[in-house]
């Protein structure tokens, strides 16, 4: 562990690398209906592990409503047959379908979560993402009206980090592709502020890096130079890049503030362990400002997923290598102050919070070849309550003991979200 962290520290401080990613209820697309009450389920997009269960990637549905008998239990496990480096997922704009991607095979799986939220069904696979778009490694799935934006982490030609994003309609037909601009060719996340007609994108690295064993990658100085150090401001309506901002250290997840008058967003830089704010200036352009430090950068805790509360005051930041979450007061968005720290496990990647900020869920997996590097390879979903001052554990599921795999991205589901399902006693046509 110490050796790995020292190695990371050296390269991280000099370069810019990035890792995981995410989404939760307060950080979804502005075009998505939000689930603001008690969620009944957490859908966990899970990497398969060779020799564990069926070894395949799967969508795991976990009961999370304390009022139900399935609280803290696995409600459903839907295997897709094969390993794809399951990573991120996102709802369509009607919240009826969950699109989920594999960073290695670039296959996209579409699950119907609207017909019966307790039992998702695999209804479509998109297997020609590389051929149609030129990109590979579908990462962020971000709904806009009638469509899905999908970032690629890499490209099909040289598998470097030079990439772009694609726009599909909800039926799975490609509408267009957009290349990242010159000088900011790396891609990762993208997020829209509809009030400002602005989209932000961040940057990571290509397939040649993210699929390598981490210790091997860290020993390759040339490879370690090939990470993103920029964010791009776009005119979203025109899909036109307007500005490239320097954000060293691989800026990953982007979280726009939700307040309509709050014209800023946050991101974390993985290798430099810094929090950044991207602020709209009075002339309408944007500036990137370092607003805080995450742990001890010399120890490279490796910040991964972040989650912003709906009042824009509290930011949760997971750090992979020490398995901890740090909570920052970002009431003053230009000066983030750490107010709490809690060790979740041996490693932690994703964090998702409920709309009211009272419930938080954490998962452990980052990438198959990076998990367990220098520390025990615990694989879990852990649930907590947050009272504004501390986390209190409520339940945990050991994904290895349950023979499920490596849990990654989480999304919330609710019975009756689109009217009561049949079991609750529907349905009379008028």
């Amino acid at each position: 562990m110490a050796t790995v962290q020292r190695a990371l520290s050296l390269v991280a401080l000099a370069l810019g690398v990035a890792f995981a990613a995410a989404a939760d209820e307060t950080c979804q697309s502005p075009y998505l209906p939000k689930l603001v009450g008690q969620e009944d389920f957490v859908y966990v997009w899970t990497l398969g592990v060779d020799g564990l269960g069926d070894g395949s990637d799967k969508l795991v549905t976990v009961g999370v409503n304390p009022a139900r008998g399935d609280y803290g239990k696995i409600v459903d496990s839907l295997s897709v047959g094969g390993r794809n480096e399951a990573h991120h997922a996102g709802f369509t704009d009607d919240r009826r379908y969950l699109w989920a991607g594999g960073l290695d095979t670039s296959v996209i799986f579409v699950f119907d979560v609207g017909s019966d939220p307790a039992q998702p069904k695999l209804v479509r696979t998109i297997e020609d993402f590389p051929e149609k778009t030129g990109w590979i490694g579908p990462h962020t799935f971000y709904p806009i009206p009638g469509r899905m934006l999908i970032t690629g982490l890499s490209n099909a030609s040289d598998k470097s980090g030079h990439t772009g994003y694609a726009e599909y309609n909800n039926d799975g037909t490609l509408v267009r592709t957009v290349r990242m601009p010159p000088g900011a060719e790396y891609g990762y996340d993208l997020r829209i502020n509809a009030h400002l007609n602005r989209m932000l994108s961040s940057s990571f690295t290509g397939h040649t890096n993210y699929m390598r064993k981490l210790p091997e990658l860290l020993g390759d100085a040339e490879a370690m130079k090939k990470f993103g150090n920029s964010m791009v401001v776009w005119d979203f309506h025109a899909r036109r890049p307007l500005q490239t901002l320097s954000v060293p250290g691989a800026p990953l997840e982007i979280r726009w503030a939700l307040g309509p008058e709050h014209e800023y967003a946050f991101t974390s830089a993985a290798l430099t362990s810094k929090l950044w704010g991207v602020f709209r200036k009075s002339d309408g352009t944007f500036e990137a400002v370092e607003v805080g430090t995450i742990g001890d950068p010399a120890k490279t805790p490796l910040p991964v997923d972040i989650s912003l509360s709906r009042d824009d005051k509290t930011l949760f930041v997971d750090t992979f290598f020490d398995g901890s979450v740090r909570v920052f007061d970002v009431s003053n968005p230009r000066s983030a102050k750490q107010i709490y720290e809690h060790k979740i496990g041996s490693q932690v990647n994703m964090v998702s919070q409920s709309w009211d900020g009272k419930r938080l869920y954490f998962t452990s997996s980052l990438l198959a070849n990076w998990d367990g590097t220098g520390h025990p390879d615990e694989q879990f979903l852990k649930a907590f309550t947050w009272d504004g001052a501390k986390l209190t554990p409520t339940f945990a599921i050991d994904f290895t003991a349950e023979k499920l795999g490596r849990p990654h991205h989480m999304h919330f589901g609710q019975l009756g979200f689109w009217g009561a399902p049949a079991r609750a006693g529907e349905v009379a046509e008028r």
Partner: protein, 232 residues
């Protein structure tokens, strides 16, 4: 392949666990907000960005919809898309007892109607179409009354369906959600749906879909002029 299931209009008789919904364009309550639109349309929020210039960007076809027969304000069947080549329709789904999102889209169409009146070359090639989600209550007579209140300056048709069975394939084709939510007496009361306004050309190609965040008259006009370069 369409997501046919997503457009089913249902009546849920169980408890409305989803009072907990929130979104741009979410319509959880009923009111007489359409009357407010007809009397004093809400002003558009001051712009916080400069709209891109018409023709400086592309609007590729997003999807394709078919032709559907609905009822006009005189109760006579009319095609949903009634365009010549080189014309566009803005199609909005509303219901008259809708409290929030529908009046918002109707107000935007009313503002757009006013703006189009200032540009006859563009106005001749654009039709606004308001379609009811609620054929039982929003009869042709009700839709005619709405039209009379709004006093369109240009091409603006108001359509409804003979019944929900006739409406269902239209919603499915557009990928427009709609779910009836029961009221206190457990009878269908409000319609939950994500607000969408569609720009469709004469061939049925969907060229733009607006939700609340995009309901900016400047953006709509820029899109229309982008798609109709000869009208710029």
């Amino acid at each position: 392949m369409k997501h046919r299931s997503r457009a089913r209009t249902r009546r849920a008789l169980g408890p409305c666990a989803c009072a907990a919904l929130l979104a741009f364009g979410w319509t959880p309550v009923r009111a007489d907000a359409h009357d407010r639109v007809t009397h004093a349309p809400p002003a558009e929020a001051p712009p916080r960005f400069e709209a891109p210039a018409a023709g400086s960007y592309e609007l590729p076809a997003i999807d394709r919809v078919g032709q559907h027969q609905l009822l006009g304000t005189r109760g006579v069947a009319e095609p949903l898309i009634a365009l010549k080549d080189g014309e566009l329709a803005l199609i909005s789904f509303v219901y008259l007892q809708c409290g929030e999102a529908c009046p918002l889209s109707t107000a935007m169409l009313r503002r757009l109607d006013g703006e189009l009146a200032k540009d006859p070359a563009l106005a001749r090639r654009v039709e606004l179409v308001t379609v009811s989600f609620d054929p039982q209550r929003d009869t042709p007579t009700q839709m005619r009354a709405l039209r009379e209140k709004l006093e369109p300056k240009g091409r603006w048709r108001f359509l409804t369906a003979a019944n929900e069975a006739a409406l269902r394939p239209v919603l499915a084709d557009f990928g427009q959600d709609a779910v009836w939510i029961p009221g206190e007496d457990n009878a269908p009361d409000s319609l939950r749906h994500v607000l969408k306004v569609f720009v469709v050309d004469a061939n049925g190609a969907v060229r733009q879909i607006y939700s609340t965040g995009f309901l900016d008259t400047r953006l709509v006009l820029a899109d229309l002029r982008t798609l109709l370069p000869s009208a710029r």
